[in-house]
Symmetry: C2
Subunit: 222 residues, 2 copies
């Protein structure tokens, strides 16, 4: 992977699945074109112009002009982590890699279950009436199990990050989503009982390059 | 990772998300306890005995008696591939890793969309009436895009497998699901226009250890 590779990230003007990739670029100080689609424009031509009919997409152009189109957030994050090994964002220990993978996939699982709540809250003008019931269903069941287990993985490591003292690719992913969850459930104490998760989020947000980026980026609700 | 590590895989008596892990064990000739839950027993105590309230779970016990519980199919597959590097199941090239990751995540995406169809077909006594409509919805839209893009990734490599001539961890995952798709859509020509996908499936099924396992395993519908 040469330093002359050019990157174009295509995603909505939201944090959700684009932000972990943006954070990785910002952390490594790698230039990228940050193309943001208005969700209102998503259907029709914009959607069909995407190879997999979905975003994020990362378009790469290497120094020979060869292009490639990558899809899937976690695949793109791993690709960037593997492409710049000097940052040590991909753990070498198999169990550490599994810790990253399990947390990212668990967040993705929970995100799928959360979809009706997010649609009702942000995209459905009549959604408000269903909101408290949907929230109750989410919070009463799996959500605490997910938070507890992720907190326990962090506890095992006794460091601020998923795999201990060193930030890894999945840390950006996790911190992005715990911050979003606090906001969408309107509960700044959501992580109160999960100290390791809160500490992890703060540790990522305190990395100088990330701190700078958070100050600079346009705020979006999700 | 020592050869004396003991493994216990807990999953339903189905192929779906357990089978790629079973295939990896069989391919590498590593012993594991293959615990199979009857889906009818899933609710209640069996479900709550699982740490994340879900399966597959892989329980490992190392030579010092230290245990660990892993979750998420693709995390478990990567963990096994990374734990036994002599089999070269994890590619070293970042783009090859991304090819594996993108295909596995795309299959997972499509699996989520397929859920209503699978529930109607196998788990809902009154589901038959909805079946053809659900199938039409699935096949009319994204499915062909997914198949076409996965086929194209295989085409790029001009080998039988995702990353060319060498079988990788994600090949077991992909071949398992294309075989299941042919069965659940009752269409043995489903992959007819996607030659590279069919060749990949046959190449995985022709690996001597996998061929042996397919003959020996109990048949399950999904």
């Amino acid at each position: 992977m040469s330093n002359t590779t050019q990157y174009k990230l295509v995603y909505f003007n939201l944090r959700t699945l684009g932000e972990p990739i943006r954070m990785l670029f910002k952390y490594m100080q790698i230039q990228f074109e940050d193309v943001r689609i208005d969700p209102a424009e998503w259907q029709g031509q914009v959607r069909t112009s995407c190879k997999w009919l979905k975003v994020p997409e990362l378009h790469t152009t290497d120094s020979n002009g060869k292009t490639y189109c990558l899809t899937q957030t976690s695949a793109i994050c791993r690709y960037l982590a593997n492409s710049y090994p000097t940052f040590e964002l991909m753990p070498t220990d198999p169990l550490d890699q599994a810790r990253c993978d399990m947390i990212v996939d668990a967040v993705q699982d929970f995100r799928m279950r959360m979809k009706p709540y997010i649609v009702a809250k942000y995209f459905d003008p009549e959604g408000c009436s269903k909101l408290s019931q949907l929230k109750k269903e989410l919070l009463d069941d799996e959500f605490w199990i997910y938070l507890k287990n992720m907190d326990q993985i962090l506890e095992e490591e006794r460091g601020d990050f998923i795999c201990g003292e060193k930030v890894r690719w999945a840390d950006f992913f996790l911190a992005n989503f715990t911050a979003i969850w606090e906001e969408i459930f309107d509960d700044e104490n959501l992580l109160k009982a999960y100290e390791n998760l809160k500490k992890q989020q703060q540790a990522v947000e305190s990395l100088p390059k990330i701190q700078e980026w958070i100050k600079q980026r346009e705020y979006t609700k999700i």
